[in-house]
Symmetry: C2
Subunit: 143 residues, 2 copies
């Protein structure tokens, strides 16, 4: 219901894509598995969790491709010998479950999506740029 | 000047990133070169032009990674033997130079960026989701 979308009152938890619909990988997965998930879904980057379900960061096709570029040529065996944990990006912004969407807008200016976590740092879902742009489009036609 | 941003009056050519600041590759480049450009810039996808400067489509890390996956294992020699033209995506939406930004909003719901072309199909620039989100943020604080 677009009427009720307001940046300062809509909560992140009301808009997010739930974790069960988010493609993710584990810290201890080999890079080959992560590349397969990214290729099958078509996404450029997905969240990473540990074996307890705690959010750890993001892994992207860029991270994996860069790891494969050796000094002289592409070193494919790096895919089998390296883990997600070795190349992922751990320093990414997150949102809290009960943040307002205004905070999401600030983060999404510089990121394609942002992960939403609860007090125990577990991944609850993600908010994407597409979701926000759809709300702006709907609001534009209603006003 | 954010005061003058209105979806129905601001023209695409007023907002776009000019072609001379856009990373691009050529149809006839080997995939290895395209992957290097994507890795060095950090972008997930860039525009492709032909030798006459005509816009041809987009190439992404996904296109290249998928081309490298052979039946059994990653076939690195495909990077040297295949060209941008063999794996790129030719069916992508474009905007005309004098379209209004409202049209850009519709396209950017489903794409990270959109290419802007002139009457001779030459690449004039790109419009990105970041640019649009920045305008929405600025408008939000002004209203
Ligand atoms: N398999 C697919 N089906 C339909 N559309 C697709 C798609 N893959 C990409 N797109 C379109 O391309 C945009 C950019 O995708 P990208 O993979 O760079 O960047 C994506 C991806 O890294 C991540 N993402 C989106 N949905 C996800 C999910 N269910 N699980 C994990 N990551 C997701 O969030 C980023 C932004 O997503 P957003 O929807 O704003 O924007 C997406 C969406 O509009
Ligand atoms: N080297 C870099 N420096 C600073 N920020 C960076 C960056 N690489 C990526 N980002 C950030 O990540 C977002 C997604 O980048 P992505 O490569 O998926 O997707 C990018 C990329 O495929 C393309 N793009 C952006 N600027 C470009 C340029 N100058 N030349 C060619 N392609 C460009 O447009 C898409 C959307 O760009 P947008 O700015 O909305 O959104 C960018 C930007 O906020």
């Amino acid at each position: 219901d677009t009427e009720s979308f307001h940046l300062e009152t809509t909560l992140v938890k009301e808009m997010m894509i739930d974790a069960d619909k988010v493609a993710q990988v584990q810290l201890s997965n080999p890079l080959e598995h992560a590349l397969l998930v990214l290729t099958k879904t078509g996404y450029n980057a997905v969240p990473v969790s540990n074996f307890e379900g705690k959010f750890e960061g993001i892994i992207s096709k860029s991270n994996i491709v860069e790891a494969m570029f050796g000094l002289e040529q592409i070193e494919v065996e790096r895919l089998q010998n390296h883990l997600v944990e070795d190349v992922m990006n751990k320093k990414v912004p997150t949102l809290q479950y009960d943040d307002i969407m205004e905070k999401a807008l600030h983060t999404l200016i510089d990121y394609n999506f942002v992960c939403v976590v609860n007090d125990e740092e577990e991944l609850m879902g993600i908010i994407t740029r597409r979701q926000l742009l759809k709300q702006f489009r709907n609001k534009y036609y209603l006003d």
